[in-house]
């Protein structure tokens, strides 16, 4: 059924995204930012969503969270969380689910905290908005416990955001995201604006908190090193489509889609000096993708069939799926939905 069933057949996914389409309206036609994305997120796992800027990874996250703003719009698909399709719920119902079941750790903590409110009041707002008014003393203890969990000292309780460092602000955002014990968190480039050492501290905080509370996470980013450290599986996006999904080890050891191969070959390391593979970036007009495979203009292995037929995700290894004509559809696995 899905591209992950072979790995975790026993479990139904916590979050199941099918054929998600998010388009941006422009005077010259729609930009197909997310164009038919399927994703499964299983209990307790971390799934990386990677790709170059403009590939649609953040837009996909906003689509899952129902936070797409005009000129963007969700054109179709489904986002099932705990058996309910978020796309069919009312605005109010979605608002109830956000924070309580599905929370976001945003990209720039600097812009997502209210500069005029103390840290405690902001966390309190999230709790009270969903659970209703409650005793001050109990709330205080709960917020202090959240701060402790993310490694912040008690005195942060009374501070304003501008009094905090970037790493501390990011940890306040983590505290808010876990305040209502959601089952799924989405981390959108949550550490990419931080210095290397602080990035490590925040990344490890996310990891520890997630394990402690048993939350599943979709981690969006472009730093493959960070992905290698943090996630269990990786979905690679290119120009609005998922081109490969694989367990993290398989993706690094043997990426199958030519774009995923390029991505892995272009990762610099501190362990060896090697010639890095270079490339040009997305080259087609996102309003008017070529017929056939989305990667054909940059693909070193392009064949005639790639110019006419769009490849579907096919199983190429245990838990590993690639959308590429290089790989024949195994007969036994032929029943994938479309």
């Amino acid at each position: 059924m899905s591209h992950s069933t072979s790995m975790t057949e026993a479990n139904a996914p916590v979050l199941r995204v099918r054929d998600l389409r998010v388009y941006y309206e422009t005077p010259k036609g729609d930009v197909l930012a997310v164009d038919g994305v399927d994703l499964d997120l299983f209990e307790g796992e971390a799934l990386g969503l990677v790709g170059e800027s403009g590939c649609g990874k953040s837009t996909a996250a906003m689509g899952i969270l129902q936070l797409v703003n005009p000129p963007g719009r969700i054109v179709g698909g489904s986002v099932e969380l705990g058996g309910r399709d978020l796309l069919k719920l009312s605005e109010e119902e979605v608002r109830q689910i956000r924070w309580t079941r599905l929370a976001l750790i945003p990209q720039g903590a600097m812009n997502s905290l209210n500069p005029t409110m103390r840290v405690a009041s902001q966390i309190e707002d999230v709790i009270v908005a969903h659970e209703g008014a409650q005793r001050k003393a109990a709330l205080r203890l709960r917020i202090l416990e959240l701060l402790r969990r993310v490694g912040l000292p008690e005195r942060v309780y009374d501070l304003y955001p501008h009094e905090l460092s970037g790493g501390m602000k990011q940890r306040v955002c983590i505290a808010m995201a876990i305040a209502l014990n959601p089952r799924v968190i989405i981390a959108d480039e949550s550490t990419s604006a931080l210095d290397v050492v602080v990035q490590r501290v925040v990344a490890q905080t996310i990891q520890r908190v997630r394990h402690d509370l048993g939350m599943a996470m979709i981690m969006i980013g472009h730093d493959m090193g960070l992905m290698a450290q943090m996630v269990d599986r990786i979905a690679v996006m290119y120009a609005g489509k998922v081109v490969e999904v694989a367990p993290v080890r398989a993706l690094f050891a043997a990426p199958r889609h030519p774009y995923a191969q390029l991505l892995i070959d272009s990762v610099p390391t501190l362990r060896e000096r090697k010639p890095l593979r270079s490339s040009e970036g997305i080259t087609h007009d996102p309003r008017n993708p070529p017929p056939g495979c989305i990667f054909q203009l940059r693909c070193p292995h392009v064949m005639d069939v790639c110019r006419s037929a769009a490849p579907r995700l096919k199983r190429v290894g245990p838990g590993q799926w690639a959308a590429c004509h290089l790989y024949a559809e195994p007969a036994a696995e032929g029943g994938r939905h479309e």
Partner: protein, 333 residues
């Protein structure tokens, strides 16, 4: 005439201002910085550090956007801050810059060709249309781009990698001896970075252009850099060849930094969690002592009393500013 292309002697930049309540305060953005690049062979010198380390201040000093509070910056033996107008103009031709944001430097209303026309005009390079076209074509070829097609495009029609390579081509057209590249790849996607790093290496190797490569990213520096300086809060924590600094870091900060770069291998994951005391994240500087004292796992009492100078810790000028190594090795002259 000096054998050195660029020599920076004890450059210090202090910003003075008034903080909350009108109290005077000083920020030492860069302290007693020394560097020299020979005329030949060309080299890529990396200046690495986190935000607030002083790496961009250094770029601004070299490019003449700001003057040092004390110290000297010599280009081919001439002090650039006191040079006359003619010599400064020559300096601005010989030292070119490529900045972080590959979009911000373009005027979105003009086609790419305009970038080249401005330079040709400004430095009176092309004597005829044909000659101008040849100069542009040559510069584009050097960065792996071709022809009229690129020149007719608007900036938004190019990828970040292409925009940055065009900036390299623009710089190359002036046949500079030094290019200051301030975070040239940090806003460009990983898969596109390689093309820019590749251009830098080719310009060095084939055209003898040296680079000051300013970055927070050690991995790209490791791929292309010759010499390296790691700055921490305005001071050099460690310097040497790129390989020795990264393969054998000595300063506790540099060790922490190298260890924190995520390894792109799922089988080599971080061991242990590091904890930064919150006040130390806030960078409350500690008076006269070592800037890294509050975060250092190996701190000693004397580190609070005075700032350590650079001492030799290995071959080829590998030096670290840490008291741990002072007794073991004799300090460099």
């Amino acid at each position: 005439m000096s054998d050195l292309l660029l020599e920076i002697k004890n450059a210090t930049k202090i910003y003075r201002g008034r903080g909350a309540g009108g109290a005077r305060h000083e920020t030492i953005a860069l302290q007693d910085f020394n560097l020299s690049i020979p005329k030949a062979p060309a080299a890529i010198v990396t200046i690495a550090g986190e935000s607030g380390s002083g790496k961009s201040t250094l770029a601004q000093l070299i490019l003449g956007f700001t003057r040092p509070t004390s110290g000297q910056i010599l280009f081919e033996g001439q002090d650039v801050t006191t040079a006359d107008a003619g010599r400064q103009r020559e300096y601005y031709r010989q030292v070119q810059a490529v900045f972080q944001d590959p979009f911000g430097v373009y005027n979105p209303f003009y086609r790419v060709k305009h970038v080249f026309d401005l330079v040709l005009d400004n430095f009176k390079l092309g004597r005829s249309r044909a000659q101008s076209r040849d100069l542009i074509e040559e510069a584009l070829n050097v960065v792996g781009l071709h022809g009229e097609d690129v020149l007719r495009k608007y900036p938004h029609q190019l990828s970040g990698g292409q925009r940055q390579r065009i900036m390299m081509a623009r710089a190359y057209m002036l046949k500079p001896k030094l290019i200051v590249a301030d975070e040239p790849v940090s806003m460009v996607d990983a898969s596109l970075r390689a093309s820019i790093l590749d251009v830098m290496m080719r310009l060095k190797r084939e055209n003898g252009i040296s680079f000051i490569y300013i970055t927070h990213d050690l991995s790209t520096a490791y791929q292309i850099g010759d010499q390296m300086f790691i700055l921490y809060q305005g001071s050099v924590a460690e310097t040497g060849t790129t390989m020795s600094v990264i393969d054998r870091p000595h300063h506790p900060y540099v060790q922490l930094l190298v260890d924190s770069v995520p390894v792109p291998d799922p089988d080599v994951r971080w061991e242990g969690e590091i904890v930064l005391p919150p006040d130390e994240e806030l960078r409350t500087t500690s008076g006269r002592g070592c800037r890294f004292y509050p975060r250092c796992s190996k701190r000693m009492d004397r580190c609070q009393a005075a700032q350590p100078g650079l001492v030799s810790v290995g071959v080829d000028g590998h030096r670290a500013a840490c008291f741990l190594y002072e007794e073991v090795h004799a300090p460099d002259a």
